[in-house]
């Protein structure tokens, strides 16, 4: 009988081109996503006078530098940003790769566009020059972020040298409570295992709470694997996954669909498969979460308070916490619901899919934003879907801004920024110092919690706000 294998091992084995004696393995890459920030990879490729080996497997969409208040490249006022988007289009043309430009009706954040167009599929290997590439693992793929040199390497060879990461399983059992979403699950996981808890590992999220998530929730969980240090995050494909993939533009059709489906059903980890590391959480005890510091591991339930560094015994940890609180302008012991916010951002590759916008809209409906609130759909397809459902109207009636798709205020590269000292409730993935603008103070939350902070002017427990509604 064959050795029992984890899903990760099955995915890894299926992509081995060759393995050296020292364990270095040349892996084949089935899909390569790139974006406007991948220009350094193109520059390197051109400097080496090389071609893209498999333009048919390479897909580009502008997202990082794309302003969210314009509809075409010509309208971009900042010459540098315009040049960067023009450069991506020119590189796509020059190398013959797929390009979802602003005039395609398919543009958006790479990690939103990939799955919704069926570029991402179960059973594939996928890379992108962006650390949040683990998102795609939610479909049962082996997906990970890479640097610019590696982007150039994949362009030229369609392969990457890798050492096999260890396998980790995070089991979340039980039923999630009312008002708790995928974002709260992943924040609770990072809070438990730390920002380096999954370093060197490919993480499989499993358990009934994970299986109970819709695809959007699963993508949110896998998206933030990098915030726990993990190389890749993944979830076993099931009927939810297959129903999501079927009929999408680049998904296999007819006979090929049937063949793919029978292969995908073999992907889940074997019962007896061994993981190098395991973590367990009780999903029923997870509350809506809010971060208080400058690392995603600095997280508490919304019912909690800012912690006291004096209670931390390790001196480096204490100093790191003290610096974080000083930067964040917070006093130990302050209840999170007493912390006022200046801006709210609902968007990013973590939380800008249709289901995320529905969760936010349910809270915003018939209420008023108390602070400036940006709602940035993850793609044109999400935007159209939301508008067809009238979600845009709910947001604008509440006084929120309804924008064009892009990374926006998650990374602050397109002009959407916090001012120094401003505090945000943000559905993005990083609360790092200066991430959303110099001196900006970011608190990470899920989409419903962001909307709750917007209509309250401070952090609020969405469960209380939504009591009696569903």
């Amino acid at each position: 009988m064959a050795m029992p294998r984890t899903m990760f091992e099955k995915l890894w084995d299926a992509h081995v081109v060759l393995e050296r004696d020292d364990g270095q393995t040349l892996l084949y890459i089935d899909r390569h996503l790139c974006h406007d920030g991948s220009r350094q990879g193109f520059t390197k490729l051109k400097a080496q006078n090389r071609e893209v080996r498999r333009p048919d497997l390479t897909f580009a969409s502008p997202d990082h530098y794309r302003p969210t208040d314009i509809k075409s490249v010509a309208e971009i006022k900042d010459p540098k940003m315009r040049e960067i988007l023009e450069e991506l289009a020119a590189n796509a043309e020059r190398f013959g790769i797929h390009h979802f430009g602003l005039d395609s009706g398919m543009d958006g954040i790479a990690h939103v566009v990939g799955p919704e167009l069926g570029v991402t599929l179960p059973g594939i290997s996928l890379v992108c020059g962006d650390s949040h590439t683990a998102t795609h693992g939610a479909l049962g793929a082996f997906a990970f972020g890479i640097g610019a040199s590696e982007v150039a390497h994949v362009f030229a060879t369609q392969t990457l040298w890798q050492m096999k990461p260890k396998a980790m399983r995070v089991n979340v059992e039980g039923t999630l409570g009312f008002g708790v979403s995928g974002k709260d699950v992943i924040l609770a996981i990072i809070g438990q295992i730390s920002a380096a808890g999954a370093t060197g590992h490919a993480v499989e999220y499993a358990g009934s709470a994970i299986r109970g998530l819709d695809m959007e929730g699963r993508m949110t969980v896998c998206n933030m694997t990098i915030e726990a240090g993990g190389r890749a995050g993944m979830i076993a494909p099931d009927e939810t996954t297959f129903a999501y993939c079927e009929g999408r533009m680049f998904a296999p059709k007819e006979d090929k669909w049937d063949k793919a489906l029978s292969y995908w059903r073999t992907l889940p980890s074997d019962d007896e498969a061994q993981f190098d590391t395991e973590a367990v959480l009780d999903g029923s005890t997870i509350a809506p979460m809010v971060t208080w510091g400058t690392s995603p591991e600095n997280v508490v339930p919304v019912t909690g308070a800012v912690p006291d560094p004096a209670k931390e015994s390790d001196s480096v940890r204490r100093a790191t916490q003290e610096r974080a609180l000083e930067y964040m302008g917070l006093t130990p012991g302050t209840q999170m619901i007493d912390v006022a916010v200046d801006k709210v951002f609902i968007g990013s590759c973590t939380n800008a899919r249709i289901q995320d916008l529905r969760l936010a809209a349910a809270v915003a409906k018939d209420r008023r934003a108390q602070v400036r609130t940006l709602v940035v759909p993850g793609s044109q397809q999400v935007k159209r879907e939301a508008e067809a459902e009238g979600l845009d109207k709910i947001f604008t009636d509440a006084g929120m801004e309804w924008r064009e798709p892009g990374c926006s205020m998650c990374v602050g590269m397109n002009g959407d920024l916090l001012e120094p000292g401003e505090r945000s409730a943000s559905t993005s993935n990083r609360n790092f110092m200066g991430r959303q603008g110099e001196g900006g103070r970011t608190h990470l939350v899920g989409p419903a919690m962001a909307a709750a902070a917007s209509v309250s002017g401070h952090f609020a427990d969405v469960r209380t706000l939504m009591e009696g509604k569903s």
Binding site: V17, G23, G123, G147, A156, A196, E297, M413, R430, F432
Partner: protein
Amino acid sequence: MEAFKTWTAKAAPIDAANVDTDQIIPAPFLSRIRTEGYEGLLFYRVRRNADGSMNPDFILNQDIFKDAGILVADRNFGCGSSRENAAWTLWDNGIRSVIAPSFGDIHYNNEMNNGMVPVRLSAEICADMRKQLHANPGAQITVDLENNVVVAPDGTQHTFEIPEFNRYRLLNGLDDVSFTLESENEISAYEGKRRDEADWLY
């Protein structure tokens, strides 16, 4: 890529966990192309006060550490964004090696792909070396890749592990694309097999 054999330089202690790549090089500088250079941009925001003036408490602002060529950090150095600009910024500001208990996986590879040597040593050894560097500011550390050894300021030798493949490439300054293309036959064979066995991909 420049070859790396052994590097002896003044080392600076970075007493913080989770030093993310946004701290090493903030997003507004990412549109600079490689040849524009990143000199003077290392830890651009972290080393400044809110009013833009330099924070004298930040270690690399202190005269004795300004020309440090090695950093000794705490766990999870280079976590976060995949920006290779972080490795370029370290390089352009004279840093050839970072020693830490653990690294963000992507940044770890980015350093090696740019001729730098990221060294993993235990949290205790790193803490002890940072202590030595505080006690003797300006002390030097040697990172010897030929022998996989770090020589601490007090002369203690610590062996470290680094993937053999990367070590070979670093020692010889090899471009990995040409190296990979020596396996063209294997890559083509895999592509043929994949097309047959997983035609649903295409």
